[in-house]
């Protein structure tokens, strides 16, 4: 199953962020040349979160001891032993990570189902909201949910929300049918957050 982990525009080159897949914590990063990768959020050395690490060129390094991993997840450098070739067994836990129509998707390693079709949509923004799917349902009458993808109309513009479970809350990744409406949809999204959080309290 693919899980949306944000919008492409929110993960620039050379940046790493935290993400998740079905309860597993992830480090998602983009190399300087633009390559995306998603790994389990633990360095195999001492269990440090790789999402606290740093990107240099086409590699991600752990912030604790600088162990460096290439896009395939294999450790390529151990700074404490600069001349040693790291054993192949030292490898980050690799997930599939792709982006389409401005959304970053993560899935387990191996073959996967097709991505939800968001062609023709433009990314608006992502928000976090403290509330559950029930509260979201009450806050979005008229929206139809197909898995994590919610579709509806806002002021005559088609809107898609890709929903991601995030701890006690949800991540909402919003897209709309026309670039000219991004500001209006972004304002509407602020209202949705307020509504969901009110609903979650009742």
């Amino acid at each position: 199953m693919w899980v949306a982990n944000g919008l492409s525009q929110d993960l620039p080159s050379g940046v790493v962020m935290a993400g998740n897949w079905q309860g597993a914590e992830l480090a998602i990063w983009r190399s300087v040349s633009g390559r995306l990768a998603a790994w389990g959020d633990r360095c195999p050395h001492r269990g440090m979160r790789l999402s606290h690490g740093f990107v240099r060129g086409e590699t991600l390094s752990c912030i604790y001891h600088g162990w460096t991993y290439g896009s395939d997840g294999a450790c390529s450098k151990i700074p404490a032993h600069p001349t040693m070739v790291p054993p192949a067994a030292i490898k980050a836990e690799v997930y599939q990570c792709v982006e389409a129509d401005g959304v970053i998707w993560v899935g387990p390693a191996g073959p996967e189902a097709d991505l939800p079709d968001l062609s023709g949509m433009v990314a608006v923004r992502s928000v976090s909201v403290l509330g559950d799917v029930a509260a979201l349902t009450r806050a979005l009458p008229g929206f139809v949910a197909d898995g994590a993808l919610w579709r509806g109309q806002v002021g005559g513009v088609s809107v898609s929300l890709v929903v991601q479970a995030r701890g006690a809350g949800l991540g909402l990744h919003a897209l709309c049918g026309a670039a000219a409406h991004r500001v209006a949809v972004s304002r509407w999204l602020d209202g949705v957050v307020q509504l969901v959080e009110q609903e979650a309290l009742t």
Binding site: P44, H52, H81
Partner: protein, 281 residues
Amino acid sequence: MIPAAVLNEWYPVAMIAQLAAWPGRQTLLLGSEINVFRDAAGAVVVQGADGPLAVTLAYGHVWACPGVPAHPLFPIPEADQPGRRLVDCGVVRVKCSPLRAVENFLDIAHFPFVHTDVLGAEPHTEVGRYEVQIREDSDEVWATKVHFYQPQAAKSAAGGIVTEYMYRVAAPTASVLYKTCPNNADEWDVIAIFVQPLTEELCEVWPWMALFDDTTPQADLIQFQQMIFLQDRSILENQIPRLLPLDPGKEIPTQADLTSIAYRRWLKRKGLTYGAQMVAA
């Protein structure tokens, strides 16, 4: 159920300079509530739910044993050496296993990345061979002949030097290091961490120093040490799992980690498993 081996060890529970009358310092030791205070006669008492605990006063701190002490508190002979300045550095609370806090203290390979431009700097990242032993006479873990390039090894250091270290695990949650003294080539600076295990996943770290440094103001020495420990905390609170894995397989060590390997082995052999993860999850 906490193993007797754990209960029969000494743990730091307060700074002597901060003691007060009842209720004094209300805190946790191995998950149980204790009060550390001075009674009407001025004696230091560590009161647990089932009565007072064995107490030792040493190195600026109050040490308590919740069980029957298996041995006296470890010695630090340098604490009595003339000319040394003894510095209590206060306390840093860290959401991690007390054992992870000690292991991090034993580690030099992280200096260039966590204490950048202070205790280490790229490209000086190599950790050469050093010697590690579990000394049977004192029942302590020792690492010797550890060398590392440091841009600013101490508050009193003017520039980069290759620092030599010796590390010593003197108790399950206490470690002492000896490092090149920037002001006195014949002596070692002594820096210790005394870790109070509040629970298996929460600790308070009391750094303590015995230095040859007559010039640096006390506040600067403490601030330097606090800065180092706050940098370490950003690591310690983000290791997964919080507990220290003692079974091999879950974490991959290298030659630079020989001290950590010996520390884990020593803990396992002695049954000092409070704060440890025994089964690979």
